[in-house]
């Protein structure tokens, strides 16, 4: 008996992959790790709770959202564009990192994480949030609540969240255009 496979073609971090034959029922996290050598996304709970495994799905309408790769089959991503933690920092033509994203830098500066296992998920969640605020700024007084709502589904077992939340809040407040002026 051979395993049924389905062809998968998608764009990850701006690069086109596929078509590759993926066994039916394989979750996207396993495709990233085992078939595409993109090992930065973390498999945590495996049942869609901890959100360490999220990638960013860039929809055609220019909005983006997080998708949990541990419970989402590879077939869901066929024809779609996604970003993983490997695609967040700026890189040169050879793939060398030129600069971390403001979110990544803030997490380092503020010592937001300790073991780092949940960090790829937090980076992606904060990235999605900041891009959303560029399209739809919020009053400055609402920033803390907005950050909490955007990150609350992500579980961290080391730091108690405070430094993650503070880092994202500070990036938002320091970046022009993410908050409504005069509010």
């Amino acid at each position: 008996m051979s395993l049924a496979t389905h062809p998968l073609t998608l764009t990850i971090n701006g690069r086109r992959y596929g078509p590759i034959e993926v066994p039916e029922g394989m979750m996207m996290i396993d495709v990233l790790h085992e078939m595409l050598d993109l090992t930065g996304s973390r498999l945590g709970c495996g049942i869609g709770i901890c959100h360490a495994c999220v990638v960013i799905w860039d929809r055609d309408d220019k909005t983006s959202e997080e998708v949990r790769t541990c419970i989402t089959g590879a077939g869901f991503f066929d024809g779609k564009r996604i970003r993983t933690i490997e695609g967040i920092a700026q890189r040169d033509d050879k793939g060398e990192i030129l600069a971390l994203s403001p979110v990544q830098q803030a997490f380092l500066d503020q010592f937001s994480f300790q073991c780092g296992y949940c960090t790829p998920g937090f980076v992606n969640a904060a990235t999605v949030l900041i891009e959303r605020l560029k399209r739809a700024p919020v009053p400055r007084g609402e920033v803390e609540a907005v950050v909490a709502a955007a990150l609350e589904s992500h579980i961290c077992r080391c730091t108690g969240y405070v430094r993650y939340y503070q880092a994202v809040r500070d990036v938002i407040l320091a970046t022009p255009g993410l908050t409504q002026s005069g509010a």
């Binding site: 039916e24 029922g25 709770i49 949990r68 541990c70 419970i71 089959g73 590879a74 869901f76």
Partner: protein, 422 residues
């Protein structure tokens, strides 16, 4: 004008005539009271404990405790086709609750649907079911409620549309629809069956949701417990035939009512609340009695799990349903629908998939199901909703795939049906 509408019109006229007559005599009949001293009830600890158990069996808290509110202090809004009805404060507060009520007053409310001031209650208060309660049980519930901490929580005003806002109209309604006992829904005579009938039809007032309602909000007793539509969700058929068709057995039902989780699925939405507030507190004997009554003294054999192979179902549902299942559901529920023990319910053998009415399945797919705690420190994680990831067509194909492969149901869910439930 269809026959149904004509019949409804005749019924409305009849009710109004009865109302008018009723109103004439009501002034004399309704010798209700409003004042009076706060009652002091001296009951033994044993009676109070029995009253607590009975209040749980009767699930008083389901309506009389609002979400986040003090126990039994009322406030839950119950929207109906006739307007919104608010459950009342039944703590012994003398001004807002039942502190001035006597045991007779309490009995009158449960048995006749009349408030202490003589005004009729609306049948959102299930006196149509509670009418079968024994006086002793009603008195024990009264004794339990009267020793609770009084809560100074004002009642919210029920506001119904005309003509339903005329409470005296309920006298006509009661003449037409109030029965001393509800028809049995299974065949039996054993002591367990009789106890179960009392627990299901009277205390548990299961028919208030599971029996379809007629045009004036009355239970259609000829179809008792055969299932009803409650807005976006369906209260399933819980007659012996309906339960057996979906694979239910006595032990399965007892597990579902006692723990909220069974091989046939877990309690969600309103039934989760019923389990947590009411049925989990019942003794094993009473749970057994309920299942004996629901299935009858000679339970019908459960229908075997429909065995359609995935490939056949895939072909019949057009392929898109299987693809969505593998992409969005299989990660937790498993490609073979087995679920994960203590974590994710199995879809193979799941009662909700075997229900002819697809709306509970569709609503679960679209909205997801929140994380839920269950008796005995059990819990099930949240299921995400997929409303934003499935188009109407994709959701219909997925629902049809699930109905075919594990439900034994027709793949008759349309995209329009999905759209209507969003």
């Amino acid at each position: 004008m269809s026959f149904r509408r004509l019949a409804l019109a005749i019924l409305v006229v009849a009710v109004l005539v009865v109302n008018a007559l009723g109103a004439l005599i009501a002034v004399r009949l309704l010798s209700g009271q409003t004042g009076g001293p706060p009652q002091v009830v001296r009951a033994s600890a044993e009676v109070v404990a029995r009253g607590k158990y009975l209040a749980e069996a009767a699930d008083c808290a389901a309506c009389h405790t609002a979400p986040g509110g003090a126990p039994f202090a009322g406030g839950l809004a119950m929207p109906s086709g006739f307007g919104t009805i608010y459950a009342t404060n039944i703590t012994p507060d003398p001004d807002n609750g039942i502190g001035r009520w006597s045991a007779d007053d309490f009995w009158q409310a449960l048995h006749d649907g009349r408030r202490r001031d003589g005004q009729p209650l609306y049948p959102a208060m299930p006196y149509t079911s509670y009418r079968g309660m024994t006086r002793g049980d009603a008195d024990a519930i009264y004794a339990y409620l009267m020793q609770l901490r009084p809560m100074k929580v004002a009642n919210r005003q029920t506001k119904l549309d005309f003509p339903y806002d005329i409470r005296l109209g309920m006298m006509g309604w009661n003449l037409l629809f109030l029965r001393n006992s509800l028809p049995p829904t299974s065949i039996g005579s054993s002591p367990a069956w009789q106890r179960g009938r009392y627990l299901v039809d009277v205390l548990g007032h299961c028919g208030e949701c599971h029996t379809p309602r007629g045009g004036l909000g009355q239970m259609e007793l000829s179809q008792a417990l055969s299932g009803a539509v409650l807005g976006r969700v369906a209260a399933p058929d819980i007659t012996p035939a309906g339960l057996a068709a979906r694979g239910w057995t006595g032990p399965g039902l007892a597990s579902y009512l006692g723990r909220g989780i069974a091989d046939q699925g877990s309690a969600f939405a309103d039934m989760h609340q019923v389990v947590m507030l009411s049925t989990q507190h019942l003794t094993p004997e009473d749970l057994g009695a309920m299942t004996t009554y629901l299935l009858g003294d000679s339970p019908p054999p459960p229908a075997p799990q429909p065995a359609m192979v995935a490939a056949t179902a895939t072909a019949a549902a057009g392929g898109a349903g299987r693809a969505s299942y593998v992409a969005l559901c299989g990660g937790c529920h498993g490609l073979e629908g087995g679920g994960l023990p203590n974590t994710v319910v199995a879809l193979r053998g799941n009662s909700t998939l075997r229900l002819a009415d697809p709306r509970n399945l569709i609503v679960a797919m679209l909205d997801g199901i929140g994380p839920e705690n269950f008796p005995g420190d059990a819990s099930l994680q949240a299921m995400p909703g997929f409303a934003d990831k499935l188009s109407d067509e994709q959701a219909a194909a997925l629902a049809n795939y699930l109905r075919l492969v594990w439900g034994g149901q027709k793949p008759d869910v349309t995209a329009a049906a999905i759209g209507g439930l969003r």
